[in-house]
């Protein structure tokens, strides 16, 4: 199985830096699947779950699997007992405000963020004490060192780069490895399924290059 270009921990690390650059003090990573890390936010304990998974349909909305995953993660955080989490930290943090816990679900895609927000709005009458905050933190961040003459962006998020590709300002072929393959995958995740032909071209070219490097000819 090929290694993913960005692991879940890459997303978690970036979110950690974003929150630390605000007024969140990092406490540690979680061993519980229900959240990824914890912070001290003022005197409140804050737990953070990062969910980078999403797929968009060809008309631009999230697919059913994404919807299920978003709702499941939201409810897992919602039903997580804050008291139990606070108990785990209380001995190390005597000043901790024990009555309240901040729960944060971080998403990386705007469509997913907005659709989950709408679901939460619809549920607001049914959930009396929603204590889950949503944050939209796009990641990965791709440095623009390949289209500086064509485009004013200093860095790209995936959605910005898709916009630049679609307008013809950035050409897929000019995006360096390993981001080129990654962006082809992301275009497909965003509903542009016609990209399979371009991937085939790349694979064929890679195969040719491999043979020349070995100074061998393929068997006929």
């Amino acid at each position: 199985m090929t290694k993913r270009l960005f692991s879940h921990m890459d997303f978690v690390e970036y979110v950690k830096k974003v929150l630390q650059s605000s007024d969140y003090e990092f406490l540690g990573y979680s061993e519980d699947d229900k959240y990824d890390m914890s912070f001290l936010h003022g005197k409140k304990l804050s737990i953070v779950k990062v969910l980078e998974y999403y797929n968009l349909t060809s008309n631009g909305i999230i697919d059913n699997q994404t919807r299920d995953k978003l709702i499941r993660n939201f409810f897992e955080l919602l039903t997580l007992s804050g008291k139990q989490v606070i108990e785990d930290f209380k001995s190390d943090l005597p000043d901790l405000k024990t009555g309240v816990i901040e729960k944060i679900l971080v998403l990386t895609n705007k469509q997913a963020f907005n659709e989950l927000s709408e679901i939460m709005d619809r549920l607001s009458g049914k959930i009396l004490d929603n204590d889950v905050k949503l944050m939209l933190i796009p990641y990965p961040i791709i440095p623009n060192n390949f289209a500086k003459k064509e485009c004013g962006n200093i860095v790209f998020t995936v959605s910005q780069l898709i916009g630049a590709i679609k307008s013809g300002v950035v050409k897929i072929k000019d995006i360096p490895a390993p981001y080129q393959d990654y962006m082809v995958t992301m275009m497909r995740k965003h509903g542009y399924r016609n990209f399979k032909l371009i991937t085939n071209t790349k694979k064929r070219n890679k195969k040719d290059l491999d043979f020349s490097a070995l100074n061998k000819k393929p068997k006929e």
Partner: protein, 210 residues
């Protein structure tokens, strides 16, 4: 005598007439131009296509729409087949076109084409969308953030990004989030608070990837 220099005011020279979707579609089918472009069917008899990656065409496109300040180009459809042939494809494009003219009150919708090279080295059109220009920054951000209704009005789709052209000689910038910086810096975190209100805060973590 008062002299008016209209040489730089492209928009005053070109004859533009608001046209219906069917006429725009017909004009676009007669267009012979490869690559990516924004096609403005309202100009002259045949319309004109602009590739914003070509400096002269980008400048002409800017001057067509404004004389100063940034302009914003927003799509309001998401075509992923690259053609307008089936009933659904045509219906979506027509809906997008009419929405731009009637609801968004923009008289000159555009047809945006995105083309790639396929495995055989030939062109494959990936996407054919309707789009439009907004010259007011606040209006552009608000429209972009509101998204567009799809699926019979049951869902809202949010475009990946919108394009900003800061001036006739400037490079285009792509914006995903209305809190992004002037050069698209992803420095704003959008937050849905527990009571449903939307707030945001800034950060500089993206700079480590610069």
């Amino acid at each position: 005598m008062i002299q008016v220099n209209i040489s730089s005011r492209h928009s005053k020279i070109l004859n533009r007439q608001p046209i219906q979707f069917s006429d725009a579609k017909n004009k676009h089918e007669c267009l012979v131009k490869d690559g990516n472009y924004s096609f403005d069917a309202s100009i002259d008899g045949n319309g004109r296509a602009y590739n914003v990656d070509v400096p002269a065409e980008r400048e002409a496109f800017y001057n067509l729409n404004a004389t100063e300040g940034p302009i914003y180009v927003l799509a309001n459809t998401k075509n992923t087949t690259g053609k307008w042939e089936t009933q659904n494809e045509i219906a979506e494009a027509k809906f997008g076109w009419e929405r731009i003219q009637v609801e968004y009150n923009k008289q000159y919708p555009l047809i945006g084409k995105y083309e790639e090279v396929d495995a055989e080295g030939g062109p494959t059109i990936i996407s054919l969308d309707t789009s439009y220009v907004i010259t007011n920054e606040e209006e552009a951000k608000s429209r972009f953030d509101d998204g567009d209704l799809v699926d019979g009005g049951n869902k809202t789709r949010y475009q990946d990004s919108m394009m900003k052209l800061p001036g006739p000689d400037s490079l285009s910038v792509f914006i995903e989030n209305i809190f992004d910086g002037d050069n698209g810096e992803p420095n704003g975190v959008k937050v849905r608070e527990t009571d449903g209100t939307i707030t945001h805060f800034d950060h500089q973590a993206w700079m480590e990837h610069d």
